[in-house]
């Protein structure tokens, strides 16, 4: 009798566990796959899909869409994914302005959004939401890392520069938050600017002993090449976006020796990271970028939550996400109450290994860093 009861209970438990695992999850990925910013979205997608394919979980399906880096397209895609594809989870947006256009509406419709990159301050503070998780960072973090480390790196008088748009202003205030030296000049450039001769002349004429730049994508490539050519030669520091794997090969020797604040690096010494970097290189024939690393972590976070709770039970599923019970390529990783990461921030240096330009960690800038907007988040 007791034996039979035990068997029954075990059977019921098995059936329950089976039903939890068999609850299919449909993910809608909106990312940039065409236009000038495509390399970022492609890395996000490839990192994410690497983890999805390694897990081979038949309950997980992914629908991938290209937002062309345009907010209005991203909004249309989100509507389509939610209403017609009936996805449970959205992810993949690279740019903060697109995230602002999509995330609040998606969470308001009860969907869960996992950010693989963009994490604007508006979504960390007052605008935080139980359905929104940033797996990457909060936008200020990598600038903070550069600022916290700049004085250690011998930059006592910094010339700081960013494009004149919201993320550029956040970048400079993030840098200044933990910078212990003096800011001698603060310059805003045009978004998408390609010629920096005028700014480089100002750097030469200033009495700065180091330069902080936040110039993502093509802007950074242009600046670094022109800066190297000018012979000014002051040390450069920036956030990882300005010196990432996807653009280093186009900068070439001009980038060698540049410091950049990051929360991940291909040489970060964790078992999960070694598996990731090797797997990525084998699958795609190139080194992964930070975007690929965030995509990979996001997929693994999602898989870990799927194993714990059915996606139909929104509350339990989000609680499972919040536990962050997965092996992050960054090693230590947990969520703060605002669903933004608490993690270590590093400073990397651009090096040349054989024919490949890549980054190596040279120091730890901050440990267990959360974000400055945490107190404004009420949930």
């Amino acid at each position: 009798m007791t034996f039979k009861a035990t068997l029954l209970a075990a059977g019921a438990a098995l059936a329950l566990a089976g039903s939890a695992a068999a609850d299919p999850v449909k993910v809608g990925m909106i990312t940039t796959l065409s236009g000038g910013g495509a390399s970022l979205g492609i890395d996000t997608r490839d990192g994410f899909m690497l983890a999805v394919e390694a897990a081979a979980n038949p309950d997980l399906t992914v629908v991938i869409e290209d937002d062309q880096q345009k907010p209005e397209i991203a909004v249309q895609l989100a509507d389509k994914l939610i209403q017609s594809d009936k996805v449970d989870v959205l992810t993949g947006i690279v740019w903060s302005n697109l995230a602002m256009a999509v995330v609040p509406a998606a969470t308001a419709q009860g969907k869960t959004y996992l950010s693989t990159n963009a994490a604007p301050s508006q979504l960390a503070g007052k605008g935080c939401n139980p359905g929104y998780f940033s797996v990457s960072y909060q936008n200020d973090n990598l600038h903070e890392a550069a600022g916290a480390y700049a004085a250690t790196a011998g930059i006592k008088r910094a010339f700081i520069m960013a494009p004149n748009y919201p993320a550029g202003k956040d970048s400079l205030s993030g840098f200044k938050r933990f910078y212990e030296g003096e800011v001698v000049s603060e310059v805003y450039t045009q978004l998408g600017q390609t010629d920096y001769a005028s700014e480089i002349a100002q750097i030469r004429a200033s009495d700065a002993d180091g330069v902080f730049i936040f110039l993502p994508g093509g802007m950074g490539i242009s600046f670094v090449k022109q800066y190297a050519e000018s012979g000014v030669g002051l040390p450069l520091i920036g956030p990882a976006f300005s010196f990432d794997q996807s653009i280093l090969q186009a900068m070439g020797d001009a980038a060698v020796g540049v410091l950049n604040g990051a929360n991940w690096s291909p040489d970060l010494d964790t078992a999960a990271n070694a598996t990731f970097v090797e797997g990525f290189r084998a699958a795609y024939g190139r080194l992964p970028s930070v975007y690929a690393a965030y995509g990979y972590d996001t997929a693994n976070l999602l898989l870990s939550a799927m194993a714990k709770a059915p996606v139909s039970d929104t509350e339990a599923f989000r609680a499972a996400l919040k536990e962050a019970d997965f092996a992050s390529v960054r090693g230590k990783f947990s969520f703060a109450p605002s669903n933004h990461p608490i993690q270590d921030l590093y400073v990397r240096e651009v090096v040349k290994e054989g024919d490949i330009y890549t980054n190596k960690i040279v120091g730890t800038a901050m440990t267990d860093r959360g974000n400055p907007y945490e107190d404004a988040c009420k949930m």
């Binding site: 603060e186 010629d195 005028s198 002349a201 090449k225 012979g231």
Partner: protein, 320 residues
């Protein structure tokens, strides 16, 4: 305070030295000359054929990609430069023969639509061929590094070379248009295309030639500037907008106007970016001065364009 030495200026408002001003003027000159190479082709095509070619920026991108690919394969920037000229001219001729030819009789809106389609086709085609990651193209070793100019300014040699090279190309273009038979035909085509066709000039071949010439100039500019910037899909569109500003200021169809307009835009933009934040710093706190100055500097060329259009609606050298 009275009678004492003047208080030292805070670091952000350091007075601009004459040297810095000269360096910025050189930067403006170099920027303007590169814009001229872009705008010359655009204005020629519009002047001779009455065609608005939005795909001009794509030819600029094509030149940069051809240069980067050939330079990477052969190790020689100069071969890359030759390849950029050849590739852009060939692409220009091909586009003229296959697409543009059908558009001369249509109105400008049809031309804009078709050439916009060309932008999308060329951009995605380039991505398909070269991938989404920016390509590497470096300055040739002979022209790398700074040189010391009289007066003690360290100035990048490559930018100086660009100024010289751009001026030489501009001079060549003026000779071509002012002194050769082809130039006479081009000017005649601008003035009265039915008449020169009636005189027995093969107008369709002339159009193909002019279009290929404009494309080659754009490709050349793309390769020269690509070595300073990033070679990536979509690099042509921001330059295209500036090139349109240049030809609107200079007068559509006028090569002289394109040169003056390009130098005006290059100087205004560079000096505006350098001087406006300093000017605002005398009345505003530094951080605000930086952001207000930068915002106004980015509008400056459009303000100049609006001003020119109010004074001379046909542009500086345009036929009103």
């Amino acid at each position: 305070m009275a009678g004492g030495p003047a208080p030292p200026a805070p670091p952000e408002t350091r007075p601009l030295s004459a040297m810095l001003l000269i360096e910025q003027a050189l930067n403006g000159l170099q920027y303007g000359i590169m814009l001229f190479l872009m705008a010359a082709g655009l204005t020629l095509v519009f002047g001779v054929m009455g065609l608005i070619n939005l795909a001009h920026g794509s030819l600029y991108m094509l030149g940069a990609f051809a240069c980067a690919a050939v330079a990477a394969a052969t190790g020689s920037f100069w071969l890359g430069l030759a390849a950029s000229l050849a590739a852009a001219a060939a692409a220009g001729a091909l586009i003229e023969l296959s697409v543009i030819r059908r558009l001369y009789a249509r109105d400008h809106l049809d031309q804009v639509l078709a050439t916009f389609a060309l932008i999308l086709i060329l951009s995605e085609g380039t991505r398909w061929l070269f991938g989404s990651f920016p390509l590497y193209l470096d300055i040739p070793a002979a022209l790398s590094g700074p040189v010391r100019l009289p007066g003690g300014i360290d100035y990048p040699l490559y930018r100086l070379a660009l100024i010289g090279f751009g001026l030489a190309v501009a001079a060549g273009l003026f000779l071509l248009i002012g002194r050769t038979r082809l130039g006479i035909r081009i000017r005649a085509g601008e003035a009265d295309r039915e008449m020169i066709a009636a005189l027995g000039v093969d107008i369709s071949r002339l159009y193909t030639l002019v279009f290929a010439l404009g494309a080659a100039l754009a490709g050349l500019a793309g390769a020269l500037v690509g070595a300073l910037q990033s070679v990536q899909v979509g690099m042509g569109e921001p330059v295209l907008i500036l090139a349109f500003v240049v030809i609107v200021i200079g007068g559509i169809g006028s090569i002289n106007g394109a040169l003056v307009g390009a130098l005006l835009v290059g100087m205004t933009d560079t000096l505006g970016r350098a001087l406006l934040p300093v000017a605002f710093a005398t009345v505003l706190p530094p951080a605000e001065a930086g952001s207000v100055g930068a915002a106004l500097a980015s509008m400056l060329i459009y303000i100049v364009m609006a001003g020119v259009l109010v004074m001379r609606p046909g542009g500086l050298f345009g036929r009103a």
